[in-house]
């Protein structure tokens, strides 16, 4: 985002600025690092997207067409790993870097050098993942969940994935420490916790979740590593271990992880809706409590991913009840957003379109989640395309649409230019239509009995798979519109005022657009 940089140079005279590659390698500025995170995330989004295209091309028709089954498994596995750890999570950290200091009236993040390090750990991790396709045996094909003992059987691609996860975990933990410290210590005078913008709140809670569970994942994959190479038997019954232990440890990380990927999305949507409804967020404090409740509940529901492993009835019932409970705070959030819109004075620029689209489509994913929480129904639908549909409704229509909404919302602040609304709207409608075309039919496939992660299927599933594949290619191509809109906005366009959205009211809108290199050199006073 050159525009930011160019503008910043004449403003900032305290440090000298290396230019070119050195600038980006050595930068300790929260905006530069935010930009790096966002571009990295986009690159991974395209990489993971290409893998998804490979999956949908193979599944377009019954019969093995393009790949062999091993490679197909590698595609599904790496699509999952890259999208979760490479695309969605870093995108939210990018937002945190750009926005949190501006929204709380700070000049930068608390630990500037650690911030640089936590970003620059990511490219090597991503390289390990991508390179693993080219090592003997190829990338790991054990599914993104890397269940033992299948993952113990895999080739060296699995080791590369394990190291990539270690590195990305370290990066996430450092990022989280930085975010927590910044939020707790660097708020402008007068900004009490309950006056923070909701995006900051959701990130504060997310950061705690990350610190709690990333070490658990690191533990799980480290046990895998020692089982693979050092003759331990954590997951091997013959040596006194238990394969299901892996699943417990993994999902103790994995379930909070899905909230790590959705809570900041809730935060973004909670900023966008009031801005375009020109009306304050309804139920601010209940939003904060709902976010915290979801985070706490996320630690006691992990085994709902494991209903078919065979656990006692009491276990199944406990995890069913706990999981159903999550519907309550999630419902509160949806009701609050609708109440914020109610009797507002709304306009529908691109950020608002994505936010409203988010509420509509994410809620469908929420409902299928509720249906899946019911143990007997889950047992029928577990590991089918119904689950694939469910988590793409919450991760693509949920997290990704919120990310798009946030990008369109803050791009004027970041670049100093307004986004081309025609491109933005085209991006929204194409994404919305193709998304539903791809994933809605997957519900039917799952109900009818198509398992996930299979490279070929019975002919009865052919028509829905063909529709899903067409939708997927459409969705993939739609993202080029997004790229075009962003590049166009960086390079020029209508000058953005300090506050381009009439109803927006958090602190970043008090800064000029583009925002100066250091946000608030003297902290503003919040009344």
């Amino acid at each position: 985002m050159e525009a930011v940089h160019g503008h910043a140079d004449d403003h900032d005279h305290a440090h000298d600025h290396p230019s070119g590659l050195t600038r980006w390698l050595t930068t300790t500025n929260h905006k530069d690092i935010g930009t790096l995170y966002l571009w990295f995330s986009f690159a991974m989004f395209i990489t993971g997207g290409l893998l998804a295209m490979g999956i949908r091309a193979e599944l377009f028709q019954p019969g093995m067409q393009l790949w062999n089954p091993e490679f197909f498994n590698q595609l599904t596995t790496m699509h999952g790993l890259i999208m979760v750890f490479g695309a969605i999570m870093p995108a939210f950290v990018g937002f945190a870097n750009w926005q949190i200091p501006m929204m709380i009236g700070a000049s930068d993040m608390a630990f500037a050098r650690m911030n640089n390090f936590s970003f620059w750990l990511l490219p090597p991790a991503a390289a390990l993942l991508v390179v693993s396709f080219f090592v003997p045996g190829g990338a790991t094909g054990a599914g993104w969940t890397l269940y033992a003992p299948l993952s113990v059987q895999q080739g060296m691609g699995m080791d590369l994935a394990i190291f990539a996860i270690h590195i990305m975990g370290a990066s996430s933990i450092m990022g989280s420490i930085n975010i927590i410290t910044t939020i707790l210590n660097m708020r402008a005078p007068g900004m009490t916790l309950m006056k923070m913008p909701l995006f900051v709140w959701t990130w504060l809670i997310t950061a705690y979740l990350l610190i709690a569970v990333m070490p658990v994942l690191a533990g799980a994959v480290t046990m895998l590593l020692t089982d693979r190479h050092f003759d331990t038997h954590f997951f091997n019954a013959a040596g006194g271990g238990d394969p299901v232990l892996y699943q417990h440890v993994f999902w103790f990380f994995g379930h909070p992880e899905v909230y790590i990927m959705i809570l900041p999305a809730f935060g973004i949507v909670s900023q966008v809706i009031p801005a375009f409804a020109r009306k304050p967020l309804f139920g601010y404090s209940s939003m904060v409590y709902a976010t915290a409740s979801i985070a706490i509940l996320s630690f006691i529901v992990w085994a709902h991913h494991m209903f078919t492993t065979g656990m006692p009835a009491a276990g199944q019932l406990f995890f069913m009840y706990a999981t159903m409970l999550i519907a309550v705070p999630t419902g509160v959030k949806v009701f609050n957003w609708v109440a914020t819109m109610w009797r507002g004075s709304m306009t529908f620029e691109t950020p608002m379109l994505f936010a409203v689209g988010f509420i509509f489509v994410f809620t469908m994913g929420g409902f299928t989640g509720l249906i899946l929480s019911v143990t007997p129904v889950d047992i029928q639908l577990q590991d089918t395309y119904y689950v694939v549909a469910h988590f793409h409704y919450v991760l693509v229509a949920g997290s990704l649409f919120a990310i798009f909404s946030g990008i369109y919302f803050w791009l004027p602040k970041w670049t100093g230019h307004m986004v081309d609304e025609r491109l933005g709207k085209a991006h929204f409608w194409c994404s919305m239509i193709f998304f539903n075309l791809t994933f809605f039919v997957m519900h039917f496939l799952g109900l009818a009995g198509m398992p996930r992660r299979i490279p070929d299927y019975s002919t009865q599933f052919a028509d829905f798979n063909a529709i899903a594949s067409v939708g997927a290619f459409g969705f993939g191509l739609s993202q080029l519109i997004f790229l075009a809109a962003v590049i166009k906005c960086i390079r020029g366009g209508e000058k953005a005022p300090a506050k381009p959205w009439e109803g927006a009211d958090s602190l970043e809108w008090t800064l000029p657009s583009p925002a100066p290199y250091h946000s608030f050199e003297t902290p503003p006073v919040v009344k």
Partner: protein, 377 residues
Amino acid sequence: MMKKSLGAALAMLPLWAGAVLAAESKYNLQPPKSVIAQEIYSLHTIIMLICAVIFVGVFSVMFYSVFKHRKSLGYKAAHFHENTVVEVVWTIIPFLILMGMAYPATKTVIAMKDTSNPDLTIKATGYQWKWGYEYIKGDGDLAGVGDGIQLYSNLATPRDQIYDKNVAKSPDYLLEVDTPLVVPVGKKVRILTTANDVIHAWWVPAFGVKQDAIPGFIRDTWFRADTTGTFRGQCAELCGKEHGFMPIVVKVVSVEEFKTWADQNKTKVAAAPAETVVDAAPAAPVQVAAAEPAKAGKVDGKKVYDGLCAACHATGAAGAPKTADKAAWKPRIAQGADTLHQHAIKGIRAMPAKGGNPALSDAEVTAAVDHMVGQSK
């Protein structure tokens, strides 16, 4: 433009809901063929309906607002931002709805977990990549009927249907096996699952049964089939490259037919298993079967032989007696089939146990030996 498509989307909802709820439709769960599957089906229908009602309610409000409360229509924003009563109400009502859902679900969970007093017990073992079945001695209604029968279910779809676009696909493409599991109608069948290598999952949608098969552990589940017929499912846990190619086929027959089938197959258990079970000699002593229930069933000895044994026994490598070398085999055959089987299973001289593949079952090794013996007489 936007109004139109959103309106159309809303209008589609009841249509879609209707289609989804229609029985026997490709938009819904498979027609249930057991009590549990029926309960799952009804649970799913009820919860879908509740969700559909809430969905329509919430989004009618939202879209009303989207269309009416617009700046372009000159609508002025109100400024309310909290209402304790409303917030408490929309926290408590969903909670009550959830309790309503949890009640029937709890009953079904408890019914699903009750694997006690089965009429028939079958152990299903997941292998990379096929299913093995063993009828276990039990004391239910069908005690003793199928004891010790062992079968292996391999994908029956020919390779060229999968890899060659020009070959027409059979109606049950990828959902057909060489040897289906056979169970009686109306009897409680308990399935014990385990696995030989990685985790698999035994899933037959029509019975509402899905249970992971975990290496080194035994789990169980049950079903009672309502009707006779053939029911198809698949492995539901990623288990490696052929995960998509290890279907499950259950043939449900009348109790009489099941008894006949079991008797025939027990004869085969008693008989020395040969390459084709039909040829089995009926004269073999019964106690062999009792002593070694594992060596049984319809295993394709030739297949095992081609896949493993042929490496040495076709060429005479490492001093192995060549197949069809009658002179080399004559003294060995004279030792008796049982001794030969034991040697092959435990290993002898240069030959490692089970020919070096511990993943083979005793039945498979036995079948391969019998195949070689048949070729070398």
